[in-house]
């Protein structure tokens, strides 16, 4: 149950809006506009690599979330964007006649998988990754209150028995 709750929590966290980046090309220059929840993302670090993986340029977005750089030649190039402490997955852009493709990108981060997949006797089983499993609760709840009561009675009987034994001696 706690694993399911962890999964639900994680899935809700993952639906928080990721930044969107639009690319356009004008006169051999690529303009990048980065927004999150409709607002410009300023001071994001932008790294550009050519199709051989060589560093091509580096800069930052301005207060409008914009950054401009010359369009690298070749079939494609790669843009890496770091906003705050998070580095997004590298975006590979293809140079096409009309500019670059894809012209709009939803940034992703690590694309961490949700679950491990396990097959137990023909039945598929999803095992949530460890980091999403909340610590087990030790507070008596609705379901385990009865167990605590039984445990208390057992301890009471045991202590009583020991006391009686000691008195007889």
């Amino acid at each position: 149950m706690s694993a399911v709750a962890g999964l639900i929590l994680l899935c809700h966290l993952s639906t928080a809006a990721e930044p969107r980046v639009a690319f356009s090309v004008k006169d051999g220059w690529v303009e990048l506009v980065m927004k999150q929840d409709g607002k410009p993302v300023a001071d994001a670090v932008v790294l550009i690599h050519d199709d051989r993986g060589q560093s091509f340029g580096e800069g930052q977005t301005d207060e409008n979330g914009e950054a401009t750089f010359p369009q690298p030649r070749g079939e494609s190039f790669v843009v890496e964007i770091k906003s705050g402490s998070e580095m997004a997955d590298p975006v590979r852009l293809l140079n096409v006649e009309s500019g670059v493709e894809p012209s709009r990108v939803l940034l992703s981060y690590g694309l961490r998988a949700c679950c491990r997949f396990k097959d137990e006797g023909g039945e598929a089983v999803l095992v949530p990754l460890t980091r999403w499993t909340p610590a087990p609760t030790l507070v008596p709840g609705e379901s385990n209150r009865w167990m605590w009561l039984v445990g208390g009675v057992v301890v009471f009987i045991a202590v009583g028995g020991l006391a009686a034994c000691a008195r007889r001696r």
Binding site: V4, L7, I8, L10, C11, H12, S14, T15, R20, V21, A22, D89, P90, V91, R92, L94, E101, P102, R104, V105, L106, L107, S108, L111, R112, A113, C114, C115, R116, F117, K118, D119, G122, E123, A124, V125, L126, V127, L129, W146, M147, V150, V153, V154, I157, A158, G161, A164, C165, R168
Partner: protein, 233 residues
């Protein structure tokens, strides 16, 4: 008999009785716990994601200039030929991507399987809006590692979907679409992702979304297909 045993023997008997009755209570309680209704839970998951079936006509949806579709994520197969595959559907019949692309574009969805609410909720969302995809000539198809028998059993329990649901044993096709990431250590289980892919009638992958959660923005998918089908004004 030793005096000590006169006290300890009843104590041990009581402890054994208490332990036995506790074990019996717990086992009965877990046995009588009702199985979850997965279809109902999937519906609740969609509600929590603010999913609503599209009530406006397709024509009106596509004519809305103010709508900003969710952009594609970056992925290695962008603008490339979609990896072909043939898998069995819920009735055990083979379903081939290349065969179906002859009839039109395909929306390919990788789901976790019919095990939990968010695992399968996207299929319910697509089922609700299926008529609009059909209107665009798009075939929707869903893939998971669930064996054919499991899918059939779930359909019997909760009712079938109106589109093919395929079985991908071992996640072999999911690997090709990078929604199953094999573990670096051989023999260990890999990691799963939800995946949604727009495949044009030319067989090109033009839009993708992968991640921890299901993609339920059907309007974006319709918009993307309309773009490649020349239906956007």
């Amino acid at each position: 008999m030793d005096d000590r045993w006169r006290i300890w023997a009843p104590m041990l008997v009581i402890a054994a009785v208490v332990a036995g009755s506790t074990a019996l209570y717990v086992s009965r309680k877990s046995a009588s716990h009702p199985k979850p209704n997965l279809a109902q839970e999937a519906r609740l998951d969609l509600t929590s994601r603010n999913f609503r079936p599209l009530s406006t006509s397709l024509e009106a949806l596509l004519a809305d200039k103010g709508y900003e579709p969710v952009p594609t994520q970056t992925f290695s197969l962008f603008r490339q030929q979609a990896p072909d595959f043939t898998l069995k559907d819920s009735s055990g019949k083979p379903w081939s991507l290349h065969e179906h692309l002859k009839a039109g574009p395909v929306l390919l969805v990788f789901y976790y399987g019919y095990h939990c609410n968010h695992c399968v909720s996207q299929l319910f969302a697509l089922n609700d809006d299926l008529a609009k995809f059909s209107e665009l000539g798009v075939e929707v198809v869903a893939v998971s590692a669930d064996p054919v028998e499991t899918t059939r059993e779930r359909f019997r329990q909760y009712g079938p979907f109106k589109f093919p649901v395929l079985s991908d044993p071992g996640n072999e096709v999911a690997k090709k679409y990078e929604t199953y990431l094999p573990h670096p250590t051989p023999g260990k289980e890999g990691d799963l992702l939800h995946g949604t892919f727009v495949i044009t009638r030319q067989g090109k992958l033009m839009w993708a979304n992968r991640g921890d959660g299901p993609f339920t923005e059907n309007r974006t998918l319709l918009h993307e297909f309309a773009k490649y089908e020349g239906r956007l004004r």
